[in-house]
């Protein structure tokens, strides 16, 4: 190799050629990613931007888009009592969606861990998950009806007639729908936890048992810390569902007069599409969106910290 080949001109030429090839490949790659980018930008990202802008207008079904309202829609949120109630119920939903599927799912996963026919049980508990929330909601609407399944079981057990309208009273409706939600999510939660449990090494558990640790101690000090990343993944999934569940609530609350207060997701739908208050509905969506994103982001950070600590 002689030095003339490495003169500045040659090097520059080589670099230019390299860049040209890179651009050529990038152009081919663009063709591959373009459909995805265009579809997502047009149908998902543009609407989000537009939603935020809308929330600052006075837009309604029959008025124009041209009048800006500043923060009026947001101020109105706090003036009306519905928002506070919907917020409160959303908080109950989020907490319920975190705790119940996890507690019941973990209990069930621990029970199912070493038994025969595990696959059969898994499939049975999984089945409701493939049914549509709309269908599940319609079935459970009659489970909770005054002459429904739950009341007939209660009156069969107590020997007295019982016809409580679970879905007609503000005291019970949120709890009742959460139970249905748990019925539908338990299967997937349990399957994920079973996977997490299966990944825990047997040696430390065996060693602790030989040393005389009780099952409770083993669970608290060995199983739980190693299972924590899985638990957090499940929590992230269920928190988002708790914030945004719509179909189930909408279908099961079809006879409940104050349904707009049942959650922010329902309130948003009700104001936008039953009342035609589009700008106001957009403001509710923005509030809901910022809460979902910040809580999920926080949990994702915790989750990545925990997984790192374990490795």
């Amino acid at each position: 190799m002689n030095t003339a080949m490495l003169s500045p001109e040659v090097l520059k030429e080589a670099r230019r050629r390299e860049r040209r090839v890179a651009w050529q490949q990038t152009r081919v790659a663009w063709l591959f990613i373009a459909p995805a980018v265009i579809m997502v930008a047009l149908f998902l990202l543009l609407p989000v931007v537009f939603n935020v802008i809308l929330s600052f207008t006075k837009w309604q079904k029959f008025t124009g888009l041209d009048q800006f309202a500043g923060f009026n829609n947001y101020a109105r949120l706090f003036r009306l009592p519905y928002f506070g109630e919907a917020m409160g119920n959303t908080a109950i939903w989020v907490v319920g969606a975190i705790i119940f599927p996890l507690a019941v799912g973990l209990g069930l996963a621990l029970l199912l861990r070493n038994i025969p026919f595990q696959e059969t049980f898994k499939s049975l508990f999984f089945l409701p998950r493939v049914m549509a929330p709309t269908a599940v909601g319609a079935i459970w609407y009659y489970v909770y009806a005054p002459r429904g399944v739950l009341n007939s079981v209660v009156s069969g057990a107590t020997g007295q007639p019982f016809d409580y309208g679970w879905l007609f009273s503000p005291d019970s409706i949120t709890g009742a729908v959460i139970v249905t939600f748990v019925w539908q999510t338990l299967g997937i939660t349990m399957v994920l936890l079973l996977l997490g449990l299966a990944a825990i090494p047997k040696d430390p558990i065996e060693a602790a048992r030989v040393d005389g640790a009780t099952p409770g101690q083993i669970f608290r000090h060995i199983v739980w810390p190693l299972l924590l990343p899985t638990v957090l993944v499940v929590t992230i999934l269920n928190v988002a569902a708790g914030f945004t569940t719509f179909d189930l609530l909408w279908v099961m609350a079809s006879s409940y007069p104050a349904k707009r207060t049942l959650s922010l997701a329902v309130y948003m739908y009700y104001e936008s599409f039953s009342n035609g208050a589009w700008a106001y509905g957009s403001a509710i969506a923005v509030v809901l969106g910022s809460m979902v994103i910040s809580v999920s982001a926080l949990l994702a950070i915790v989750q990545s910290r925990v997984s790192k600590n374990i490795r």
């Binding site: 070493n114 549509a132 079935i139």
Partner: protein, 295 residues
């Protein structure tokens, strides 16, 4: 304590003790499992006795009692089918789900290929852009989509509905396939490229066949999502000729419904058949798909 591992009797005792512990645990464990399974299956049991009852029978009997005969199901299906126009609605949803899921997974696979196998300048940026599509709750899309659809004139149209489903079903498969494709060794496609294969050729005959598992799982997942959707279809497609099966089902149910629970429950069963059948037939892929959702 020193253990003489050649002492057979000692070893046999140990094994026996271990076995006894396992067995007694196993026997106890079955009680709560069976109790929970029964409680869990009660709503489904209710479904199966209700679809065989007439309205009068439903009103007369206890809700969990067995039906007199199996015959009333025919009438229940006919009623649900005709009143809610379920034939048209299932055809609509089926076409949205079959076609929409296929296009979406295809587009996502192409994008994942572009991001992982080609030298794409700014690949991470493009990925983040699409990934952002999974962050926002659906509620933030609704009003603008309704507005846009009305402006462009694709509200209440089959094509408009399909487009939004395709867009919704791209980000998540892209996320999964990007990981799946990164796991396929580079030598496969480098060799093909040296032989002179085009990128499209490499993509369709080298990469896709190596990822059939995730592709099937993702397709099932997106099919189920589209089939089960109520939120988007209730806003963007209410017309009887384009509305989805879930909108049809919902129209039967609730305060204004004069139909007996036997008809509504039959309709819920009809609307669940495709996804449940898919689940039973392709359980392995289904479970894999739903577990993908957690990664």
């Amino acid at each position: 304590m020193a253990v003489d591992i050649t002492n057979r009797q000692f070893i046999a005792q140990l094994i026996e003790k271990e076995r006894r512990e396992h067995r007694s645990g196993g026997r106890w464990v079955i009680v709560p499992i069976v109790a929970m399974t029964i409680a869990y299956l009660t709503p489904l049991y209710y479904l199966f006795v209700t679809i065989f009852k007439t309205s009068q029978e439903y009103a007369r009997k206890g809700v969990l009692e067995l039906p007199d005969s199996l015959a009333p199901i025919v009438d229940n299906v006919v009623q649900a089918w005709t009143i809610a126009n379920m034939g048209q609605a299932s055809l609509n949803s089926f076409s949205y789900a079959v076609i929409g899921a296929a296009i979406a997974v295809g587009i996502a696979a192409a994008a994942a290929y572009g991001m992982t196998r080609l030298n794409l300048i700014g690949a991470n940026g493009w990925f983040m852009l699409i990934f952002t599509g999974t962050l926002f709750p659906f509620q933030m899309y609704l009003v603008p989509l309704l507005f846009g659809y009305q402006r462009v004139g694709i509200i209440n149209s089959w094509g408009g509905m399909l487009l939004v489903y395709v867009a919704l079903c791209i980000p998540f498969p892209l996320l999964v396939l990007r990981n799946a494709f990164s796991g396929i060794t580079r030598e496969v496609d480098e060799a093909a490229r040296i032989e002179g294969a085009s990128e499209w050729r490499v993509f369709t005959s080298m990469i896709l066949p190596n990822a059939t598992g995730p592709l099937i799982a993702l397709y099932l997942l997106q099919f189920t999502f589209i089939w089960n959707d109520l939120l988007f279809s209730s806003i963007l497609a209410n017309g009887i000729d384009v509305r989805s099966i879930m909108v049809a089902l919902q129209s039967l149910q609730g305060t204004y419904s004069t139909l007996g629970p036997n008809v509504v429950i039959t309709a819920t069963l009809i609307s669940s058949i495709p996804t449940v059948l898919l689940f039973v037939a392709l359980r392995k892929y289904f479970m894999a798909g739903l577990q993908l959702g957690s990664k």
